[in-house]
């Protein structure tokens, strides 16, 4: 025989459940495997001994309420040997009565109706802890548990004295080996929670704001909820991820109805102002590309200024207007929620931005109805769409099937688009769509990666291979496709849809939108270069495409929102409250 000897071989006895036998065998073998002279042998023996004892004890416990004779023997012996302390039992009885009396008084106080009197409670508690009987270590664990249970029952009545108990009995000390009794842990947690709640109720930091929001009834109007949610985004996410995940017991202090209402919005990641601010920058880059192309003479010189202005206006101006259209709500929310004024540029910026866009649109060589529509779009539709579109990309806190369901709910829209193109335009446009999707996806991914946006690692490799193939197909399709306005409009739409099709597995919406915006931009630039090299593209269409893609992101987002937003609600909080 080679290899490790079994437990029983190490002990030199046949398998048994008799604890006495195991101990005798261990003692006998110990003389050969002396811890001094044969540390390795001793360790093997000790492991075998402990395993054997565990098995034997486990078997005894498994036998249920009737302990095996072996255990009984040991217990019997011990009791016989302990019987010598006659005086001790008398002493114990006397002390026990005192403890009972003190605990009874405390219980009475706790169960009495009406407001608790803190001083009375505290003195009753001290009386329990100071009786000589409570000093006894043998019954201590039981008394400790009993006290904890007693205090937990009339919660929150006992709250004022919980802190005293924890301090006097040093319950809060974190011990890495011994597990505290369950009741004791609950008391300690509650004391810590009480301290945290006190801090959160009076605080003004992000966590406190989120806590205060959740502990009050939610506003009736879902519109105001959504607007509020838009600006509380980070605070809530931090609160959910840090505070509530670490301390699920805090949900006791939250308003259930409010939580449910809010979680329809907050259960998922949101767009952030910072994410939106990135967009104008990217717009500017795209516009610059057009401008540079014009300067280089690749674009016809006749209406360069007009085309440039058009692109400038319809692209970034929409974004700026979108940001500033909300400056009033921002100000109000700042004042209410953060307790301070927003920065001045934010307050007045919308006027400048609005005036600027009006000016720009009015100087454009386009008709007034078009200009008006552009402004309406910028001021109304886009911000609304962005705010409303918050809850589409639910990722965090959802299970696989929930994600699948969501993907299916979103996909009909995508399928509809693709079908329309296939039916209306024909195959080349469909291939172009796919190609656009590929190119934009690659660009978006690499950008997201560079900006440390995480994406699902499992799918990354395969999607990159597939996307490279699709890109090559797109090159071919665009090369072949004719330059008709319908196709262009459709490809614009398709870019958008393609962008939206990507499920940001672990992205927040803000990250996803930035990534998507990047995709649109890259696609536009890509299409521009391609068209210029083939000579089949006009500037106006290009600018329209840039802007149009962006508009459509919003439109499709709105549609998706209408289809599925309220259907999925946040599970984080509910799961947290289920844990407690």
């Amino acid at each position: 025989m080679t290899g490790q000897p079994t437990v029983w071989q190490a002990l030199g006895i046949p398998p048994t459940r008799e604890i006495g036998d195991i101990r005798r065998a261990y003692a006998a073998r110990l003389k050969e495997c002396h811890p001094e002279e044969n540390p390795d042998g001793f360790q093997r023996l000790r492991t075998a001994y402990e395993t054997a004892l565990r098995t034997a004890r486990g078997a005894a416990e498994g036998a249920g309420s009737v302990p095996s004779t072996a255990v009984k023997d040991v217990v019997g012996q011990v009791q016989a040997s302990a019987a010598s302390g006659v005086i001790s039992s008398q002493l114990d009885d006397e002390n026990q009565r005192h403890v009972e009396g003190a605990v009874g008084r405390l219980e009475q106080l706790l169960k009495a109706p009406g407001e608790p009197d803190r001083a009375a409670l505290e003195s009753a508690l001290n009386a329990v802890l100071d009786t000589p009987g409570a000093f006894h270590v043998g019954s201590w664990d039981a008394l400790e548990r009993r006290l904890a249970r007693l205090l937990l029952e009339p919660v929150p009545k006992s709250d004022p004295i919980l802190d005293t108990v924890v301090q006097r009995l040093r319950w809060a000390r974190a011990d890495v080996v011994t597990a505290r009794a369950k009741e004791v842990v609950v008391v300690v947690t509650r004391v810590a929670d009480l301290a945290t709640v006190a801090k959160l109720q009076s605080g003004t930091d992000a966590d406190a704001r989120a806590f205060q929001l959740f502990s009050q009834p939610a506003p009736k109007s879902w519109m105001s909820r959504r607007v509020k949610a838009f600006y509380l985004d980070h605070a809530i996410r931090d609160f959910l991820n840090k505070t509530l995940k670490a301390r699920p017991t805090l949900t006791q202090w939250l308003d259930k109805g409010s939580v449910d209402a809010w979680m329809k919005i907050f259960g998922r990641p949101h767009v952030s102002a910072r994410g939106l601010a990135t967009m104008p920058i990217l717009s500017a880059i795209a516009v610059l590309a057009v401008y540079v192309a014009g300067e280089l003479g690749t674009l016809p010189a006749d209406s360069r200024a007009a085309d440039f202005l058009l692109a400038l206006c319809v692209g970034p101006c929409l974004v700026l207007a979108k940001l500033y259209a909300f400056s009033w709500p921002i100000m109000l929310l700042f004042r209410r929620l953060k307790g301070k004024e927003p920065p001045p540029w934010m307050r007045w910026g919308w006027l400048a931005a609005g005036a600027f866009s009006v000016l720009l649109v009015s100087t454009l060589p386009i008709t007034w109805p078009v200009a008006a529509m552009s402004l309406v779009l910028s001021a109304g539709l886009l911000p609304w769409a962005t705010v409303a579109a918050h809850p589409i990309f639910v990722a965090e806190g959802l299970g696989f099937y929930q994600k699948l369901k969501l993907a299916l709910m979103e996909n009909p829209v995508v399928l509809l688009w693709t079908g329309m193109i296939g039916w209306g335009v024909g195959l080349p446009a469909s291939i172009a769509t796919a190609g656009a999707f590929g190119a934009s996806a690659i660009a978006g991914r690499s950008m997201a990666k560079r900006w440390k946006f995480d994406s699902a690692p499992r799918t990354r490799r395969w999607s990159l291979v597939a996307l490279s193939l699709l890109t090559m197909a797109a090159f071919y399709a665009l090369w072949r496709s004719s330059d008709s306005p319908v196709e262009f409009a459709l490809s614009t739409g398709l870019v958008t849809v393609a962008a939206l099709m990507q499920r940001p597995a672990r992205l927040t919406l803000s990250q996803a939108l930035v990534g998507r915006w990047a995709q649109v931009m890259v696609f536009a630039t890509f299409a521009l270069v391609l068209a210029l090299s083939t000579g089949g593209l006009t500037r106006k269409r290009l600018a329209m495409q840039i802007a149009g893609s962006y508009v459509l992101v919003g439109v499709v987002a709105t549609i998706c929102f209408v289809v599925c937003s309220e259907a999925t609600t946040g599970r984080l909080l509910r799961r947290a409250s289920a844990q407690t």
């Binding site: 101990r23 003692a27 003389k31 811890p35 002390n95 270590v137 043998g138 890495v176 011994t178 995940k245």
Partner: protein
Amino acid sequence: MLTPSAVSIDDDGQLLVGMAARERQVTHPALTATAFKRYMGTNRMTRLGAREFLPEELSALVLASLKADAEHYLGEPVKSAIITVPAYFNDKQRKATRRAGELAGLAVDRLINEPTAAALAYGIHRRQDETKFLVFDLGGGTFDVSILEIFEGVIEVRASTGDTYLGGEDFNEVLIQDFLRQHGTTLSFTSREQAPLLYEVLRDQAERARRQLTVEAVAKMVVSWKDQHFEYSVTVDQFETLCQRLLARLRDPVIRALRDSKVDLDQVKEIVLVGGATRMPVVRRAVTRMFGRFPATSLNPDEAVALGAAIQAGLKARDAALKEVVLTDVCPYTLGVDSGERRPDGSFRLDVFTPIIERNTVIPASREKRFTTLSDGQEKIALKIYQGESRIASENIYLGTIEMPVPPRRAREVAVTCRFTYDINGLLEVDVEVPATHERRQLVIFDRESGEPGIDLEHRRRDLAALKVHPREKDPNRAALARAARCFEHFLGEEREEVRRQLSTFEAALDTQDPVTADHARARLLKALDALEGKSFL
């Protein structure tokens, strides 16, 4: 007679160790060191005269004096020793103790936990029984609790816990504080550093009062300072009230020991009291209340530990009389490493203490755990080693760091195995291996002598040996002189005159250079001093 842990340096630069040094504590606090056991393992330097000493060097001097005494008695050289340490001594403190032994010229065969030694002294005669008992060891500076079981000739330590900062000294401190509450303003005493001489007087008086309370219902502290006389009296009941907090602290380790050992208090056959401080009635009463029964007092609390160490020496030598006894001890504290966890939301929770050897594991023990990298492309893993019971790593005692280069891969793809080996002397060894590269490293916990410990130790040993120590034959006379000097300062009026008279008689006897005359005179002097201030407690 016991040798107190005290080292003093006298005016001509010679060293005094033991009783004589202890007596000088009150009169020459700046030249005397006591209670240095508390600082073992630290770099705290004590200045005595011209030279600075490490705690381990002071211990080495005491050990050397003990060695000389033993050699004198046995008439043969003593080469090796078994040294007892509080069970709760950590790795650093144990290493320092071992170095102290080596500095004293002793090969340290074994460090044994004090409660284990005491239990050995208690249990060795009961080895035929099958029994469990609890050793309650409250010494001058440390408190240890151990639960032991004897069966089939095996003495097994089931659990060992304690509090390294709780002991008789703390009870003295309670009395001093109460004394100062009463007289502090007139004495204008603020801190020990501000008036070391006064503090020593206070401490001496507190110790006396505490011992008096062992036999009497009321005790007095009398302090003469700057021609003023301060009196303070305390009754047993008052003292008990004052000690309430300390007594409450005695309970925690007991409860932990019971929990860890999974032994029911009903199964514990006897409570064995060890350590000088357990003579105090307040402590005995607290013990009685705590356990609901009277503790066993069959052992002399001062000698039990030494007796146990002697038995351990016998066990170690496989003495025939002890042949059938095997002792197994435990590691009294948890040893582990600092680690991090990734939360579900992707953030990290750092500073998590992961135990590798849990407290009260039977030693020698060797345990292994695997750890993986936390982030992509991580190039090394640094394992910080801690000892303690808190779940938060940095709240524990830091022992050292071991760094291990790992191949840069994705997070959680590279594993290292970390093996802790805790030997029978309570010294720890850490091995780390990366299975992927088969690279191994062993931890050298950075000691002061991390460079070349052997050479340095040898150097320091010679250094200490060069110090002049008073010839041991004259020690009793020195001690008597020091005590008389202290009494002379303490008493006033007629009593002072009496001390002076006795002292000069003794000095005259010493001048005759006749040892017999000197011995007689010394006996007379000590008797007179006993009559004045009560029996010496040293």
